[in-house]
């Protein structure tokens, strides 16, 4: 019972100062429960991406603490960052797909990089592609895909380790409203299977339509926390 009440993710007075003085965090305190689906919204430079990058350790804290379960993320050594990232799925802002590799190869490449055998790759890749609804385009190259399909491939790649946490930075940033909604539906489906999902977005209409917890950020601070 105690474990259920304990936050899965905890930001305690998190400060981040960039060298250029832009877009850091100024004392953010937030908690997320396991299995939650939450949006971080706000204008450019509000600190949404920085907050997510603190969790993935792409950015380091200036002060404060970030906890993932019992793990003090800020204190993890550089050598431990890879292990941390294997516990989560990350969908970056720019998709980062390999243009000369087919859809299935993009997913397979990520699996091979973290040490999965060819056999595991052959077995798991079709399952993941099916899970995100892109199995029929497995042999297509990224340039032959629509924006929404590319985003699905990026999500598929983030699911290779079946992670309990999925972090997506502006996953609908350059998609039309209908495709954005499809991506959100996909994330909702994954959340329904128990995956904790944190999404940074400035697509307010889609976020409102989802009816999930929404954290408003501005100038590196939390302005509002609208729990669904």
């Amino acid at each position: 019972m105690a474990d259920l009440e304990k936050p899965y993710i905890r930001f305690e007075d998190a400060h981040v100062e960039y060298r250029n003085g832009l877009g850091g965090l100024r004392g953010v305190s937030l908690t997320f429960q396991r299995g939650e689906f939450a949006f971080l919204v706000g204008p450019t430079g509000a600190g949404k991406s920085t907050l997510l990058k603190l969790l993935t350790r792409e950015v380091r804290l200036t002060s404060g603490q970030v906890w993932l379960q019992d793990l003090d993320v800020g204190k993890i050594r550089e050598s431990g960052v890879a292990k941390l990232r294997r516990q989560m799925g990350i969908v970056p802002q720019d998709n980062a797909l390999l243009p000369k590799k087919k859809v299935w190869e993009n997913v397979a490449y990520a699996m091979r990089a973290v040490g999965h055998t060819r056999r595991e790759v052959r077995q798991r890749v079709p399952e993941i592609l099916d899970q995100v609804g892109i199995a029929l385009r497995a042999d297509a190259l990224p340039e032959q895909l629509s924006g929404g399909e590319q985003q699905r491939v990026a999500i598929a790649r983030a699911l290779i380790a079946n992670p309990p946490l999925l972090i997506a930075d502006e996953p609908t940033g350059h998609l039309d409203p209908e495709t954005s909604w499809e991506i959100m539906e996909l994330l909702k489906k994954l959340n329904g299977r128990g995956t904790t999902i944190l999404v940074a977005s400035h697509d307010v209409s889609v976020v409102q339509r989802m009816g999930k917890r929404t954290i408003m950020m501005r100038d590196g601070k939390v302005e509002g926390d609208d729990v669904a």
Binding site: E58, R60, S79, R85, I90, L98, Y109, R118, R157, A158
Partner: protein
């Protein structure tokens, strides 16, 4: 099985990296090959020349004549003093009687009718040197011996020896300089090739980082690329040395020169040059990828 899979993945990535910057890689490999060829070639020529000089008895020898009437005790103490001189390998006493008899045997026509009293030879020492560079110092010390005959008491190929070793040293230093410079250039080329590969593979690197690939998996292909550049350069340098030796052998045969060269030790040179080149290339690669990969991990 997992380990084998990881190894095949890393090797596959290495070859992809190698193909990305073929021309830069080619420049790095050939420069490494030329520099190692020069350095190892000069080492080889130097060691062979030293071997050759050592094998020629007269080249390292000095003949020291003693004053007429030098006592046996004085000869003994002089021999002990010479043996203790730095650069001296050994000393042999040549009694005047033995020298005269040998000369008479070799030149009966010239010595017919001459007896022992006509012996023109003084008591002498044959001094063999272990280090040509010390010949002048040894000569000076020999001249200071009380039994030394000041009238033409020392015969040796001092100047010739000095000139030979000086030329050899100049050639070695020049090769060391040019080879060293080229090795520096090849290091820069390997460094740049790896930097360019890291840049051209930044999407792959960022994907590996995102999904939590270990540092070794991310960086090993680049280190292996540098190592391969150096090792291939080492192998090419060995081939070059072998080819040069073959050409020299063929030319000698053409001119019917009776001076068979010792066979070129391919395996030790191949092993050593590949190891040196590989180690050097790997080191350059480590320097090259350190900063960009660190920057990309954040």
């Amino acid at each position: 099985m997992t380990l084998l899979d990881r190894i095949t993945f890393v090797i596959g990535e290495t070859f992809i990296a190698l193909r990305r910057n073929l021309s830069m890689g080619f420049a790095a490999i050939t420069t490494t090959a030329i520099s190692l060829f020069l350095l190892a070639g000069m080492f080889y020529v130097g060691s062979r020349t030293a071997e050759y000089l050592n094998s020629l008895p007269g080249r390292f020898e000095m003949k020291v004549n003693l004053k007429e009437g030098t006592s046996f005790e004085s000869i003994k103490s002089s021999a002990t003093a010479i043996r203790a001189m730095p650069g001296v390998k050994d000393v042999t006493w040549l009694p005047r009687k033995n020298q005269w008899e040998k000369f008479k045997k070799e030149h009966p026509d010239l010595t017919a009718g001459y007896g022992f009293d006509d012996n023109i030879f003084p008591d002498s020492f044959r001094v063999r040197l272990s280090d040509l560079g010390k010949s002048d110092a040894v000569a000076k010390a020999l001249k200071a011996l009380p039994a030394f005959d000041p009238e033409g008491g020392l015969n040796y190929f001092g100047e010739a020896q000095k000139t030979a070793s000086q030329w050899l040293r100049v050639a070695q230093n020049l090769s060391l300089l040019i080879g060293g410079l080229l090795l520096g250039v090849s290091g820069i080329l390997i460094f740049n090739a790896i930097r360019m590969t890291v840049e051209s593979r930044r999407v792959e690197v960022s994907i590996m980082r995102l999904v939590g690939a270990s540092r070794i998996v991310v960086s090993l292909p680049f280190a292996l690329e540098g190592l391969l550049h150096g090792a291939i350069g080492g192998a090419l340098a060995t081939s070059g040395l072998y080819a040069v030796q073959r050409v020299v052998e063929l030319r000698l045969a053409e001119f019917s020169v009776d001076a068979a060269l010792a066979p070129f030790p391919v395996s030790p040179y191949l092993g050593a040059l590949c190891a040196i080149g590989g180690g050097y290339g790997g080191l350059c690669a480590l320097f090259a990828m350190g900063r960009p990969l660190r920057a990309r991990s954040r």
